[in-house]
């Protein structure tokens, strides 16, 4: 818990931030639709126990209203995209005359899928994100066009698949055939990139709970993705978020959907093993 520093001089800075912010994660409980108790704080997984004791969902670092908005599907704007994806799920597309439902039945058959992605695909011999797996089904099983990796249609589908696993613990495998990819992701996480020479860890491991200018730093967890951001009023993919954070170190970013970000996604997901799947969540 040494990380939840109550920094001196904070008070002065806080006073300026209109009383919204506070050092450290907010003490609060997320109960979804007055029904599902979400795990938003838990013991850090073993592989990172030397870095921190406790992991927190990004939900704890947002304001009261944003937190409340996520607790009810009627108030969650991300759920509109989920409804649209439900239509897409049942819509025939491509040369084979099939919809997702033709092979997978209802979308609720996807419960339990999101918690284990990114995942090693034995058949393909590679680590895949959900986006890659969905496009594989579209291209190779439906004879349909790929969806844009970070685009709204794709992220809506990822949100639908995430939504049926909400409340289940994130549990990606980091050993076996996925291990080398995981190591690569870890390496990226600790690399200080760009002209500002900042690593993910500088901000999200060493300084979470602190204010960086007007932003309250979280642990940069991705259990809540896709994320509906109030800032751009749409669903945001994991890789788009990574891209933004790398860009902000004044670095040349990596490509969404590319090997580096797949590795980073696997590693960052594993830092959240034990937190509930929350997607689509709401952040600012």
């Amino acid at each position: 818990m040494q990380k939840i520093k109550t920094v001196l001089g904070t008070c002065a800075a806080m006073a300026l931030t209109a009383g919204v912010a506070m050092a450290g994660p907010a003490e609060d409980k997320l109960i979804l639709n007055e029904e599902i108790e979400m795990v938003t704080v838990t013991t850090a997984p073993d592989h990172m126990s030397d870095a921190m004791d406790t992991i927190y969902s990004g939900w704890h670092f947002r304001g009261v209203e944003t937190r409340a908005m996520q607790s009810d599907d009627f108030d969650n704007p991300g759920m509109i995209a989920v409804e649209q994806a439900e239509d897409a799920w049942n819509t025939v597309d491509g040369s084979e005359g099939k919809s997702c439902a033709s092979c997978h039945d209802g979308s609720d058959s996807m419960a339990g899928v999101k918690p284990v992605y990114p995942k090693w695909s034995e058949a393909a011999g590679e680590v895949r994100t959900l986006e890659h797996q969905i496009n594989d089904c579209r291209e190779n099983r439906m004879g349909a066009e790929k969806w844009k990796y970070t685009g709204g249609t794709m992220q809506g589908m990822v949100a639908l698949i995430a939504s049926v696993s909400r409340g289940m613990p994130v549990n990606v495998a980091i050993d076996g055939p996925a291990q080398s990819m995981w190591e690569q992701g870890k390496e990226l996480y600790y690399t200080r990139t760009g002209q500002l020479e900042l690593s993910c860890a500088n901000c999200h491991e060493d300084n979470y709970g602190m204010m960086i200018r007007a932003d309250h730093l979280s642990q940069g967890q991705i259990n809540g993705f896709p994320v509906y951001r109030l800032k751009n009023t749409k669903l945001n993919s994991v890789h788009a978020r990574f891209k933004g954070c790398v860009r902000d170190t004044r670095a040349e970013t990596y490509k969404p959907g590319g090997q580096e970000f797949i590795a980073l996604e696997l590693y960052v997901t594993s830092r959240g093993n034990g937190l509930s799947v929350e997607g689509p969540s709401i952040r600012n």
Partner: protein
Amino acid sequence: MRTALAALAALALSTHAGLAGEVAPTDVNYMDGAVEMSLSGTAGDATEGRSIVGSKKKGNCVACHMVSDLADVPFHGEIGPPLDGAGERWTEAELRGIVANAKLTFEDSMMPSFYKTEGFIRPGKAYTGKAADDTFGPLLTAQQIEDVVAYLVTLKE
């Protein structure tokens, strides 16, 4: 943050043309992290320095530091210590060294090196996400460093 482009263009001019009396980022002489000699050869302007420290588009020091004297600027961060009293804690030469390249004073510091042009991993073209090109220059010019130092010296508790 993004509009640092114009500043960079200006930087390119100053660094590449090598203004008379200016010490290039690669030629700065650090002694235990401190830099005795003025980088620009022209005295710093504390008023200008104050604006650089508070400006998102220039130093953006307040992203990480609280400064009581800049109460008119909203949102001060808390990653580094408050700069109040910095002019008492450090000599001018030490402050110049900290602003130019803090990592030589504080090992592995999270503070960016404001007068450095080499040794980066995947340097970008400002905040575009694209690779750096020939407009690449230090985060602050020699004169801007001097202005910031002139301001920091005035910060007494």
